[in-house]
Symmetry: C2
Subunit: 152 residues, 2 copies
Amino acid sequence: MKPSDRNITTALRRHGYKLTPQRCAVVHAITSSQDHLTPTAIFEKVSQNHPGIGLVTVYRTLKLLAELELICELHTGGNCPSYTAGTSHHHHHLVCSGCGKVVDFASPRLIEHNVVELEGRLSRESGFRIDDHLLEFTGLCQLCQKAPASSV
Amino acid sequence: MKPSDRNITTALRRHGYKLTPQRCAVVHAITSSQDHLTPTAIFEKVSQNHPGIGLVTVYRTLKLLAELELICELHTGGNCPSYTAGTSHHHHHLVCSGCGKVVDFASPRLIEHNVVELEGRLSRESGFRIDDHLLEFTGLCQLCQKAPASSV
DNA sequence: CTGTAACTGATAATACTTTTCAATTAGCAG
DNA sequence: CTGCTAATTGAAAAGTATTATCAGTTACAG
Ligand SMILES: [Mn+2]
Ligand SMILES: [Mn+2]
Ligand SMILES: [Zn+2]
Ligand SMILES: [Zn+2]
């Protein structure tokens, strides 16, 4: 077991969760890759050394690890696609993680300027051709701060 | 038909698409709301004045309008959830819209500083309690710039 | 060891989106 | 105005992703 694995597994134990071979396998699949992996990709990776593991268990473990913030989950969990008019002007989003409400805002020129500069640097370093950027804030809207989240 | 509707419908015609009542209804549902609406919400809204419309048609129309960039689609279409180790340090993402590859990067202190300032302002203006932010660039990785996208 | 609550995996259920295809229709030519 | 035709629609089915149920198994505290 690699040290990076141990960090996570001991954290699991510390939180009172049992250390099953399945959970260890999922952790190892994640720590042993540089990439962001989809649940299915992780399942396939785990299945090699641990045939018979259920995809369900992979989902459960990922959810658990992400909740404990032991792994990085990409994309704000929110209900993914939603649509609105007025795509014309470049803008960004403030998303309520309670009810899903979205507020559009324009980011100040200063930030946009810095971001464009950063785009240039990242592009040079990574070889990506960068087309667009997205600045997104997540939090709780006024209503959801009071009431416990009422979901969409 | 509101002027904002007309903008979109004439654009549709200009691109050679037929102007069906269903499409007009979907466009109107979107332009007549301030919010970002999910496909289902749009379907329900349209169904009121246009019972019998198929959910399929709503999906088709949304896809069309988004492709023509006549409406704003929230969240980078990408295959939503993916996981990686090392959530400890705050970082951001560079995502390939061709193959889904994700590169992590730390944004420069200058940007983080500006963003925190912006958070304060947005919070005051909107009443949101802001918990986190996400800066995401989308583009094409080196491979996908050559080969036509090979999907995940 | 033993007991038990936590955990697993097969299955089913749910949810969301796309495909298929026969019937309908928008919009053009005449 | 017709009449034609390719585009479009909607019902149904299929595909895909995720979650719930539940009987059997297992990690681990005592
Ligand atoms: Mn928007
Ligand atoms: Mn990451
Ligand atoms: Zn809210
Ligand atoms: Zn790529």
